[in-house]
Symmetry: C2
Subunit: 653 residues, 2 copies
């Protein structure tokens, strides 16, 4: 997609955005404040800008006055970029130029890291756990009447150097007829062992040469959503992808409620069945949108948190939620997909990611494999923020992990107007430090309905850096604005007035919300500190950060550092890897090395139960500030805050 | 059982028999001819003997005349031995004393070889493939919250030195609840790998200590009959045993007819189902006659010929009967018993004996393991005579095997009055060389219905050694006896007149019958010769013979040598091991060493297709004589025959 250069005046800030991007988006990306309270739906008519040069695609709006039209103003949210542009922000949106660029920074999202299948190939690692081998065998004669299975094994040895082979009974049943029907030209499917000295299973046999048609499905089983990808094991490409809600959602949103249902009579069977139905739905969709036939799928790799994994395998998860929080197992044997109820052929093998503990599950193991932090000598922090937050710190020599009791604040839980990053969620936010008027952008550019995780982080970071809230998250009491008010003894900031919203109520951010966010980010930050301290290291020793999880791609990493969620680190050292669990599952489908490495990773991994680690509570309490009690941990923010103070003093003086 | 000494006069032959044995039996054992044509039922009244000293239990009979009573005669078949006896055979039964002891020899049956469980124990081999281990584990705590399965594995390592463990999914599902319900005191069932570097599977877990209750079932699947034994894996004892017809019998008596049914639509499923029903019937019976509960059975070992094995595993056997006679597989993976339809608990493992070829099946492999010929440096011949005959020759360094197209003569097939060794089958026979009157004994001491395999061998050997038939099996045409007659151009010998039988017809042995027997024994003998020749050895190099199969226990091994079925060897070097297939299956249940050794045996084994071995036909044609064209292969018989000739010449002179 072609990038266009947009220069905003009078700030004189330039940013590159793709053709077709709205000017409101571009301004937000550039950190340029434009009044906007309808989320980008074109209803409030506030985001007026003047196009000084260049072309835009404009959707007409009745919210512009005749005078605005005469002055050649357009609504930023209704204009899409066609060429390089120079855009002037009118005075009403413009904040004091002297503070511009001081604490209004362009949004910095983490760079997205893509898996490089070519790299996998060049390293000789593109050897899927399930491979197909084509064979042309001599027909048996009186002098050479080896058993059919022995003949197959013997040719696999001589033609493909395959050893330590075992054949499963369902395959033995097919061999005699297929050999003869196919004139002894057949394709054998080989399922590799996890360990080098294990056995390779001959899991299928087909007539003729089908070695170029070999497919896998990778699945991430989230508590909320299930994602699947169909993978061509010949080319390594993702052929199709689909995500859907985990059908269990109607039985309760969080893990605990799901476990409670499994404890009722028939509950485990029910939860298993609902989950399998969701996965089967995804299997249908990824196959349906491809030219692959169901029986060409050789393997399905599944990664999920410990509870989801146990429900998938129909293992009672009741003890996961009971002290001392013991899971049933960490490793699981490979099994036939049909034995789990999955709608695949009888020969399809299911590979299930291992768990580390009750709270650090297969999704995290999968994420570790997907991020590759276990391969590097550099010290990496891996954070997966979903319904809960898990962190992993380590390198190729050692690994530590912990689940943080962060709670669901980042998914909107415990926040008065919190919601998931669905349509209408405020995901981006800037504030005019003088008027305290907000600039908001919502998912889908519609009138706001609530606040999602990345929006929450941006708001609190903005409010803190502009001095509207203090380092305890409390609003300064001396700001005289109708947007800051007290309700039932709690201060709140009005993001959108009721008539600007979809819900007919004022959407506010309360001090309670901010407190919840501070607790959540404090749990994660102090978790990192504790893990590092346990291995004798400090935050400043971190070389890289990997962000995973649904919310990570939109989050402004500078803002996440401002609130003290992420350690302060150069933004280019942060990578966003998206759904790391799905990525890990895909990698596992593509290279058997990952399955072998998992066993090593499990051995190198030390799991910390933070609640049982004595220093954790101390770190946690110290982290319940914006960004932290110890500002020296955030030197760049410290200097920005000092600059603002100087600036304010100068302005006041 | 106390043995009593019986001396027969005027022969002055003494034999030891158990108390309660009938005098007719004892005479037969001693090779002492007594007139007897009703098979021992007490109806013909011919077997009169005088008890000169000692006590007998006599059942009164109306078939003794008043004169007989006055002379103190009793019927030999109605008197049972109570003490040492001296018995005189009256003149009518007495054959010329000069020929006595020359070609009437006591019956020599092979010594029965029993498995010595104590020996197995002392050699440290009493380690069943499925063992139980009791564990007392510490409860998990916050500091020690290993996953349940990891805890189990860890304690198995430290308390029982178990390594390379894997846990199956159905067991993982049970572990969490059982650990807690049993206060972490549990018994784990371990299924051993076949190879040393394989994995041990944890196949079950039970609360408390059940390690002393561990049972196995061993099954021999014959084409005709199925036998099962329930084995205590703690003591090594056989607790119960049961045999029954293979339900497939109603679909055809031989292998070929069974295969033909499997080729029809639904036929394989049907044959599988019928077989499984037979096995399940036996499982019910062996469990029912014990105090063992079904779920205490950890393993079932099954041995059968290649066709039965493939039907058991639901593998289409159609190519077994088609040139070049290729079986589906030789080795089979271990599987869950319930996956075969066997009525055992979900955790019971089925171990299936491997096959060598289409015609040398798991029953023979099992027999090799049961006989132990693969362990000795001595050169052994193993012969299993059932519906067909298989031979194995070898020692601990090498093994060869072949299936002989002997046909079913030894089971009564192709013999005019042939039958299995059921009640009424003539199984023992002596002839008065002067009157040509027979002495017959039947299974169950009832009037005769037909002739079984051991009876047939005894008859032909007797007729040959007494000079009544020649070395081609033809009756001498100059013997003037109403018992030898011609019918439709075929000579025959009348064993019992119609009024002496259960069937109301004369029971005869025809020249055709003898010819069939000669072909059958010729196929086996020449098979042995061919195998030996292929490895550069001769018949005289054989150190030992193991006889297996249903008919072997009653067969008079000297007589079997006389007809040229067995190579001439000292009788004490012949062992009868009974149902060797069942024995092998039992051994495999008792010691995992056998399962490991099977793999070695399979590697050491060379299978000969006799029809493809050039020298076989030559050997076969030379063996179509009594005992053989080359009488020097049977030196003892040769000298007996020469002695008889001299004797006859002397009598004639």
């Amino acid at each position: 997609m072609a990038l266009r250069k947009i220069t905003f005046l009078p700030h004189n800030k330039t940013i590159a955005v793709p053709t077709g991007e709205s000017i409101l988006h571009a301004a937000m990306e550039a950190g340029v404040y434009v009044q906007a309270s309808c989320g980008g739906e074109g209803l409030c008519g506030k985001c007026r800008v003047a196009i000084e040069s260049g072309d835009v695609d404009e959707t007409p709006s009745e919210h512009l006055s005749g005078e605005d039209r005469e002055n050649d103003f357009k609504l930023a949210c209704r204009c899409r970029v066609k060429s390089d542009l120079v855009v002037r922000i009118p005075a009403e949106s413009e904040i004091d130029a002297t503070v511009l660029g001081k604490f209004m920074s362009p949004r910095v999202t983490a760079r997205i890291r893509h898996t490089n299948i070519e790299e996998l190939k060049s390293r000789g690692l593109f050897i899927p756990p399930v491979e197909k081998k084509y064979l042309e065998m001599a027909k048996p004669t009186a002098d050479d009447n080896l058993a059919d299975t022995s003949r197959l094994i013997s040719y696999l040895k001589t033609q493909h150097h395959e050893h330590r082979l075992v054949v499963e009974l369902p395959v033995i049943r097919k061999i005699p007829d297929i050999l003869r029907a196919a004139c002894y030209k057949v394709t054998a499917t080989l399922t590799r062992p996890v360990v080098d000295d294990g056995k390779t299973h001959i899991s299928n046999i087909e007539p003729g040469d089908t070695s170029h048609r070999n497919y896998a499905i990778a699945v991430d089983i989230g508590t909320t959503t299930v994602y699947g990808q169909l993978i061509d094991l010949h080319s390594g490409e993702v052929l199709s992808e689909h995500g859907d809600f985990n059908g269990q959602i109607s039985y309760g949103e969080d893990i605990i409620s799901r476990i409670m249902i499994t404890e009722k009579p028939g509950g485990l069977d029910k939860m298993h069945e609902v989950l399998i139905r969701s996965i089967n739905g995804i299997i249908d969709r990824v196959i349906g949108s491809s030219t692959v036939r169901r029986e060409e799928i050789s393997t399905i790799t599944l990664a999920g948190n410990t509870t989801m994994t146990q429900i998938l395998l129909k293992i009672n998860p009741r003890y996961i939620r009971r002290s001392p929080y013991v899971p049933a197992s960490t490793l699981y044997p490979q099994i036939r997909a049909i034995d789990l109820g999955l709608d695949l052929a009888v020969h399809a093998t299911a590979l299930v990611y291992p768990n580390i503990s009750s709270f650090v599950g297969g999704d995290i193991v999968s994420g570790i494999m997907g991020s590759g932090i276990y391969l590097s000598k550099r010290l990496s922090l891996f954070i997966d923020i979903g319904t809960n937050a898990e962190i992993v710190i380590g390198n190729r020599d050692w690994l530590t992990c912990a689940a943080c009791s962060a709670g669901p604040a980042f998914e909107g839980g415990g926040i008065q107007f919190g919601m998931r990053a669905d349509k209408g969620a405020i995901e981006d936010f800037l504030i005019d430090p003088c008027t305290l008027a907000p600039m908001i952008r919502t998912v889908g550019d519609v009138r706001p309905k609530g606040i999602c995780g990345s929006g929450l982080i941006n708001m609190v970071a903005n409010l803190f850096e502009t001095g509207i809230i203090d380092n305890l998250g409390a609003f300064h009491r001396d700001l005289h604005s109708k947007r800051i008010r007290e309700r039932d003894g709690v201060y709140e900031y009005v993001l959108a007035w009721s008539d600007e919203t979809q819900i007919g109520r004022d959407i506010v951010l309360t001090e309670n919300d901010i407190e919840n966010l501070i607790r959540a980010k404090g749990a994660i930050y102090s978790g990192c500190q504790t893990l590092l301290e346990e291995v004798g290291l400090k935050i400043s020793d971190l070389d890289r950060i990997f962000l995973a999880g649904g919310f990570g791609s939109q989050v402004d990493v500078e803002k996440a550092m401002t609130i003290g969620l992420l350690p302060e680190i150069a933004p280019e050292k942060i990578r966003y890897i998206g759904n790391s669990s799905l990525l890990g599952a895909r990698l596992c489908s593509l290279t058997n090395r990952v399955r072998k490495d998992v066993v090593d990773v499990m051995k190198k991994m030390t799991n910390f139960e933070l609640s049982e680690t004595s220093s954790y509570m101390e770190h946690y309490v110290a982290a319940l500030f914006l960004p932290h009690t110890d500002l020296d941990l955030f030197p760049k923010l410290k200097s920005r805050l000092q600059a603002r103070k100087t600036n304010c003093a100068a302005q006041a003086g």
